[in-house]
């Protein structure tokens, strides 16, 4: 079909349609971007005030930089601009280089932009939501892993707790069986020294179990406090040697305790806790050593006490070396019952760390283990303060409500050179203080009518100036602080070690 030129009316109709839809505006500028001519809907774009010769980049700042040196048409789609304050337009902008300047064509794109924005907005929001979902899913997965881990730990804790209860029951029943069994033999008139030794061993084992459980509870509640005093570490080494000598002899294991000559006579540290650490590590070494030897060495340098306890026992696999310091765990399979509550090493490690030290373990399965630690131990030159001794036979008032313990204390002390008097409660104690004027006071912490420190306070108010020793089964920090506040000279925990009691009485004279 032959192409016809459009009738003029149709051409005008099309022009009007185009004009109303895109509001075309053509601007012509010279090489300096000054306006030389304009055609189209100036008013629609807020440009009705343009005058010939005006610099266009003042009114259309986006021309700055963009149009310079242009050699072919450049189309800037959806360019949103504010031509007058509050008058904003979006147009497709065509920059057309001319032989003597620049042609600028603006075609309104507001409606098209609104439509595209709607679609783009939805797509972007969807992408953001998708990303958010991915992030939440990843977090959910991580939470799930953490929950599974917590669940596993809880299950393990439950198993450990059950194992612990079973173990404790076994640990308590065994020495109790021994004690009650040997006691039954007294009805048959049999009470050999060996039976008494066995009962003593069983009772001491029970005491160590109770002490460990209490220490662990204090550690978990962060209530365990150290009490550094002037300490003779050689004396502690001697106690350890004496304590394990018999076991070593019976089991045919070599046992030595070596003390370096450079160890000072007196160090400032918590002697009771050092002794506990050494007893735990040495006792542990004996538990797991069938033959060979066990060595304890103590050295001192730069205000630090260095200790090593080595054995030729079964050793500990690398995988278990960290876990043996966790409470209620022991070397070997968790289901196998071994010795004790599984608290000794956990408490030992905690004590070493509280004493400013670090524990190291070197162990080879089948060859043996070596526990090494060092703790703060500054040298002390302080001379212990001693009281002036009372001359002649001394009077001791024992205040204890339990008749068995009262009788036991009487038995411990009857041949010790003291004149003994007894009181069963605080009231009786105060009456006896006035009547018999004792030189020393040995008192239970918990009395039926009042607390020991109250009695001491009342006695002090009445003019009693002698030494006071408190005995207690509680042995807590709070009770000790309360006793110290009223001027108590010594605090001994039950059960009573007669040697310690006599030594304390002798020191307080």
């Amino acid at each position: 079909m032959k192409e016809h030129r459009l009738p003029q009316e149709l051409q005008h109709y099309l022009d009007r349609q185009l004009f109303h839809r895109v509001h075309p505006l053509c601007l012509v500028a010279d090489a300096q971007e000054r306006l030389t001519g304009a055609s189209g809907d100036l008013d629609f774009y807020g440009l009705a005030d343009l005058v010939e010769g005006e610099r266009l980049d003042n009114v259309l700042p986006w021309l700055s930089g963009t149009a310079a040196g242009l050699v072919e048409p450049l189309v800037l789609e959806f360019l949103s601009m504010e031509t007058r304050p509050g008058v904003a337009h979006t147009a497709h902008v065509h920059l057309v280089p001319l032989s003597a300047g620049l042609g600028i064509v603006l075609l309104d794109a507001s409606d098209e932009q609104a439509q595209r924005r709607e679609r783009q907005q939805a797509a972007n929001e969807l992408a953001l939501l998708h990303r958010q979902r991915e992030k939440l899913l990843a977090e959910l997965e991580q939470s799930q892993v953490r929950l599974q881990e917590s669940h596993r730990r809880l299950e393990e804790a439950g198993q450990l707790k059950s194992l612990f209860i079973g173990n404790m029951s076994h640990e308590f029943r065994t020495p109790l069986t021994s004690i009650l069994g040997y006691l039954d033999l007294r009805h048959q008139g049999e009470m050999k020294p060996a039976y008494l030794d066995a009962m003593e061993g069983a009772a001491r084992h029970l005491l160590s179990l109770v002490d460990n459980l209490l220490d662990q509870a204090k550690l978990e509640n962060d209530e365990l406090q150290l009490n550094p005093t002037e300490t003779d570490v050689r004396e502690i080494a001697g106690v350890i040697r004496q304590m394990f000598e018999r076991t070593a002899r019976q089991s045919g294991i070599g046992f030595t305790v070596e003390v370096s000559p450079r160890l000072p006579a007196c160090l400032l540290l918590d002697g009771m806790r050092l002794r506990q650490i050494l007893v735990n590590l040495t006792g542990n070494a004996f538990k797991f050593t069938q033959q060979g030897e066990i060595r304890v060495t103590l050295d001192w340098q730069d205000a630090r006490l260095n200790v090593a306890v080595s054995d030729t026992g079964s050793g500990i696999p690398v995988a278990e070396q960290r876990r043996i310091f966790e409470p209620f765990r022991q070397a070997g399979q968790p289901a196998i019952r071994r010795h004790g509550a599984g608290l000794g090493l956990a408490i030992t490690l905690a004590l070493v760390e509280r004493m400013g030290g670090r524990m190291q373990l070197e162990s080879t399965p089948g060859k043996g283990s070596r526990f090494v630690f060092d703790i703060d131990a500054p040298e002390s030159h302080r001379i212990p303060v001693t009281r002036a001794r009372t001359t002649g036979r001394r009077h001791l008032l024992i205040v204890e409500d339990d008749p068995d313990i009262r009788a036991l204390l009487g038995a411990y002390l009857e041949d010790s050179g003291y004149d003994l008097a007894f009181a069963a409660d605080g009231g009786m104690a105060l009456a006896a203080l006035t009547a018999s004027k004792p030189d020393l006071l040995l008192m239970d912490l918990h009395l039926p009518d009042m607390m020991g420190p109250q009695v001491v306070q009342a006695a002090r108010d009445e003019g009693y100036e002698g030494p006071v020793i408190i005995l207690s089964a509680a042995a807590g920090q709070a009770e000790q602080a309360q006793a110290a506040a009223v001027g108590v000279d010594a605090y001994l925990a039950k059960p009573i070690d007669p040697a310690v009691l006599l030594k304390t009485l002798s020191e307080l004279g």
Partner: protein
């Protein structure tokens, strides 16, 4: 007065429009409204030494500059701001791609990387290590918040000074 064309580039929803709104109009809106095409704004800035410069800010849509139509917007730019959303690590990766693309088109042109949304720092996925790596790669990096205004003016000022120094 010297005029300088500055392009805002970065992934969608990183806060390019919000940074311009904060800088030019001192306003902020929490509502996300996507940009289609480019939006032009201007603000005058005083340079070190007392001279003034008119910044013509081209706020570009998302990653438009990565396609042929969008790359036309970059023509004649004197500098660009590379905007990153600190709470979305992927926007840092996009910024790296954009920087390569833009520097390929514009050559050695001043730019500043602005890590936006400093008001949400607790939720940032972009780490101090990420930022250190970019600085080590030669990027000038600044943290800012279009929401509170913290650091926004400084970012534009730093870029204007770098352009003027050319």
């Amino acid at each position: 007065m010297q005029a300088a064309k500055i392009c805002m580039v970065g992934d969608f929803s990183v806060g390019k429009t919000s940074m311009v709104a904060r800088y030019v109009h001192s306003t902020f809106s929490d509502r996300y409204l996507t940009t289609v095409g480019v939006k032009i704004d201007t603000r005058q800035v005083e340079l070190e030494g007392g001279m003034a410069m008119k910044l013509v800010l081209w706020d570009l849509a998302g990653t438009d500059v990565l396609n042929a139509t969008g790359s036309a917007y970059l023509r004649g730019a004197a500098g660009y701001l590379l905007v990153i959303d600190g709470t979305r690590r992927d926007t840092l990766e996009t910024a790296c791609r954009l920087q390569e693309q833009v520097s390929g088109m514009l050559g050695d042109t001043p730019f500043v990387a602005a890590v936006n949304k400093a008001d949400l720092k607790a939720a940032w996925e972009v780490t101090p290590d990420d930022i250190s790596q970019r600085i080590a790669a030669g990027w000038p990096v600044e943290c800012c918040s279009a929401k509170t205004g913290e650091g926004v003016g400084a970012v534009f000022q730093q870029l204007a000074n770098a352009i003027a120094a050319r």
